[in-house]
């Protein structure tokens, strides 16, 4: 009787694990099939080199570069905001802050990541953009700057929290050794602790980038919907994710070429985030071995 019970539990657990894997594989499969069909009509060369993305216009162009530049530009701005702030926070919390303060503040910071992104999107559109327009009158109503900045605020906890864990995991004996040599707190933090935790910090940055690239709502609301190959942060752009939202909500016909552009864009996005996540996984593996 007991054996049967054990068996049922074991199989149930295994099934749940398998379902997860099956769903993931299913998504990849659908993405690939539709993308392959897309690429039977549009050459990969054009897709990667054409500088215009106008699949919904009469004169169709299928160049992913404008969407890619929109995605990378907003993500770059986000990381430029999140990295210095996140890293400063993590070093302060791990090396300087009293224990009680650290315990109280860390969960609060993580709260930043739990605010619905649609709220962030509106915040960017109705607060940050008008505010920035006070400094840059030429700033368009939709632009990658405010979307990027707000996205940066959203991903701060990815960097601060994971980096702080990495810094905190550096053995206390290294701190003692450094203090014992006459090093100050600042010297110890930057010459010993940060280098020793570097792999964990790099992982946090990669995960944050991955999150920024995949972020949809903020950019869809605040960055605009105009595919444009530009590095100018003050004009409207469109990211891969925002494009997918735009087409999904529109009335393109299922099975049409326009419809399949979603999957072509989707697989591009997937490739990026997959590579980044794999990279961070590899680094984390190496890092775990170091301290065990």
């Amino acid at each position: 009787m007991r054996k049967i019970k054990e068996l049922i539990i074991e199989k149930t657990l295994m099934t749940s694990a398998l379902i997860t894997i099956a769903v993931t594989l299913g998504i990849i499969l659908v993405l690939s099939i539709e993308a392959i069909q897309f690429f039977s009509e549009v050459s990969i060369f054009d897709f990667l080199t054409d500088t215009q993305w106008t699949p919904l216009f009469t004169e169709k162009h299928f160049g992913i570069l404008p969407l890619l530049s929109g995605t990378l530009l907003t993500s770059f701005i986000a990381i430029s905001v999140a990295l210095p702030i996140g890293l400063t926070i993590s070093i302060y919390l791990s090396e300087y802050a009293p224990k009680a303060f650290r315990k109280a503040v860390k969960p609060l910071l993580e709260l930043l990541a739990s605010i619905p992104t649609v709220v962030y999107g509106f915040f960017a559109l109705v607060v940050v953009t008008p505010f920035l327009q006070g400094f840059f009158p030429d700033l368009a109503g939709f632009n990658s700057l405010s979307a990027g900045i707000v996205m940066g605020i959203m991903i701060i906890p990815y960097i601060s929290s994971i980096s702080e864990d990495a810094l905190h995991a550096v053995p206390a004996s290294l701190r003692e050794a450094s203090y014992g040599m006459g090093a100050t707190k600042l010297q110890t933090a930057f010459k010993v602790i940060v280098p020793a935790a570097s792999s964990g910090i790099i992982v946090s940055i990669i995960l944050a980038i991955s999150r920024a690239i995949g972020e949809t709502m903020i950019v869809a609301i605040a960055a605009g919907q105009q595919p444009r190959l530009t590095l100018d942060p003050t004009v409207p752009v469109e990211t891969i994710t925002a494009y997918i939202v735009q087409v999904s909500l529109g009335d393109v016909q299922h099975g049409s070429l326009e419809y399949r552009t979603i999957f072509a864009a989707g697989i591009t996005l997937f490739t990026f985030t997959f590579l980044l996540n794999t990279l961070s996984y590899r680094i984390r593996k190496k890092y775990q071995e170091k301290y065990e």
Binding site: K99, A177, M181
Partner: protein
Amino acid sequence: MEITMENPKKKGVVLDSIVDTSLKKTPKIETKNIKVWYEEFNAIKGISMSIKPNTVTAFIGPSGCGKSTFLRLFNRMNDYVDGFSLEGKIKINGQNIYKKNVNVEELRKEVGMVFQKPNPFPKSIFDNVAYGLKIQGIKDKQLINDRVISSLKQVGLWEEVKDDLKKSGLALSGGQQQRLCIARTLAVEPSIILMDEPTSALDPISTAKIEELIFQLKQKYTIVIVTHNMQQASRISDYTAFFYLGELIEFNKTKNIFTNPEKKQTENYITGRFG
């Protein structure tokens, strides 16, 4: 094991020259009625002691007797412990090290420390030894280079590592790591070296090497060592202090402590009847 005692740069610190010349018998470390609390817990209950220059002093006693706490007072490592408070005076080279305006970083350059578990930085062997100099802002490559080599020679590690100074310090064996940590401490040229059970994580051969090293270092440094190993204390130290429950029970020449202890408690401990 070859140990050379040469030193590229003679230190110009006033305190050192006092010790080197006429006042050889002046205590290097002097404590007066030291009491330590962690929150409400009274860890040290009034210890007075003076330690002579160029001697090896061993602190022995059962776990929790306060010997490590007492040792860590000399370079103010307890400052980081939550709830730590101190009463009494500690003078090193005649200066009260717990005075308000004391520069703790400067103190630690004078009073080096070697820890229980070898704790090299995850840096190259060279950078490990050069660390103390670099944080002092020394940029002179020749000086750093010379100091790294002489420190590694002093701990007898030079022959073993001279061809791979770029290798990570963590790639060395436990015993080598501990000697690297001692070299790292010597590179800053302290006059006192505190050792907190430096061989407790090492095998007997590595332990023997470190003990031999301590014996050599005595000529130039004042060494205070915490140990759980009675044989070690009797082998390497000139003076031995026996601690029990936060009190200094007996402090005397090592020979006397081990052959003819004055207190019954000391005798019981060193003969293994308790502790």
